[in-house]
Symmetry: C2
Subunit: 336 residues, 2 copies
Amino acid sequence: MKNKIGDQTIKFTNCPRIIGNYAIVGEKEGNGTFKDYYDFILKDDLFGEKTFEHAERKIIEQAISQSIEKAKLNISDIDLLIGGDLLNQIISMSFTARYFDRPFLGVYGACSTMAESLAIGAALVNAEYVKNVVCSTGSHFSSAERQYRFPLELGNQRPPTSQWTVTGAGSSILSLSGEGHKITMATFGKVTDYGVSDVNNMGAAMAPAAMSTLISHFQDTKTTPDDYDLILTGDLGKLGSEILMDLMEHNGYKLGKNYNDCGQMIFNNNQKTFQGGSGAGCSAAVLNSFILKKMDEGVFKKVLFAATGALLSTLSSQQGDSIPGICHAVVIEKGR
Amino acid sequence: MKNKIGDQTIKFTNCPRIIGNYAIVGEKEGNGTFKDYYDFILKDDLFGEKTFEHAERKIIEQAISQSIEKAKLNISDIDLLIGGDLLNQIISMSFTARYFDRPFLGVYGACSTMAESLAIGAALVNAEYVKNVVCSTGSHFSSAERQYRFPLELGNQRPPTSQWTVTGAGSSILSLSGEGHKITMATFGKVTDYGVSDVNNMGAAMAPAAMSTLISHFQDTKTTPDDYDLILTGDLGKLGSEILMDLMEHNGYKLGKNYNDCGQMIFNNNQKTFQGGSGAGCSAAVLNSFILKKMDEGVFKKVLFAATGALLSTLSSQQGDSIPGICHAVVIEKGR
């Protein structure tokens, strides 16, 4: 297998590039850490729609259409849309894809979906099956909260280990031609389950999956954490990130100052989100705003983007199952 | 793009082969048309589990592990699992993937998931990213019924346009080496919506998507329906198949005796399923039993497998949305 390295990693010698990217977030996220980096901040989380679910579609639609525009392409130039979201049957992405009328692959990796989409997209572009691919995902606090937890009207108290689902979406256009940062590798994650069953502690449930993928990546590529300017998990939050650092250290890998987590970073400490942000939109929005802009500036030259997802449903938890996690990773290297 | 044909189709010049396949179905399906072709027929739809959801996982797990065995491989030889299912957050496949401890890509194409998995799997194998890939999906009548429709205890009356979700799973092992039928092309489908909103008439909702993908495939590959021994849709059912034939004829394509639909075929007329079978397990079980065995025998030499999916959720229907459909297709050619 000429394009495989080690057990779980594949390499892209044609260097698919991110030629356009866009991040859109809700009002609360727009008051957070990266407020100066987003392309668009909603004034109203309903975004002029009648339901939060329709608003979620609309923010993903805007992320996709604007990323296409930023790549200086037309919709007809897009060969394939890849994406998914957190709602049952990934309706946000499927209904959005209907609007674009281009071939569509629905994927589901919970909050790891941005990395999963980029990994599949880069693989298909690199092999010259398709030229221009949209990779996108998003989430909405209000639609996720009422699907996964409680009716919003209940005003339920949030436990201290909880995270806040990000209202936001990100979209990246991958292409073989054009200028942009390069995706050079992808590591496909394994479903990992350490038996955590607390649905209010997703960081703890997902940290073992992040550990599994990071260690496999380092082993496959014969690299160490020091070889990256930034190792970025998706939405482990503060507690989950600490658990990951502990787990890594127990396995002989020290994650230092070059490690961070989108969920841990996205909100300010005074925004009362406890462990930070979560949701498919969390890593999608942070990657497609702050991270890629800092790569433009040369602050980061080599980023290991490892988005994490908790693969539970309300029903699996009700039936007493623990929470499996997954983490897919892509390496992004500065290309302009 | 050296591996692309036309607008939506990609070709696999390295010819990934189906080196192992397995189909498992429930008791009702085991009394249906293809009773002599399945690898395993359940005696009890709970399959020894406490819930139908856990049974659904177990049938997918058996399909995967036995297909690996039929391919004369060990689990450690598998580079990647690709699959999804109909339950919220694709928990059946995610929890099953946990058991195998191999890299996993979750996909969601509703009942088109078998074709979507095969298309992505063949693309990744063909490009030499991975050697051996499992492509699998399944569904369970009882878990689907109570998630999408009504509590089973209600004994709700079924309308005449309805279909019966198949209890079953299929798994195919794709590989660059070994003997087996070849996947030579894939056509990625567009999300297509003609405005059908009747959740008891999925065939009508999905037929336009099947038409879209079939026409694109014929145009991209400069073929006609006559170039295939069998053109097989996934689960349009009797009514949906008739609608598809009408739609195709209006567009200048006559689907003749070489057209059929897994949903239309899978049950006998006296099994009271109205329009026939449906569900991700429907096309997965039929492909991995009857179709591949008839290809072994040389009855079919070139099959266009076009699985169809309805991309709705209960919530999208409750919010008044219509039902978008999608259809992904792969070409399978006799290889032994």
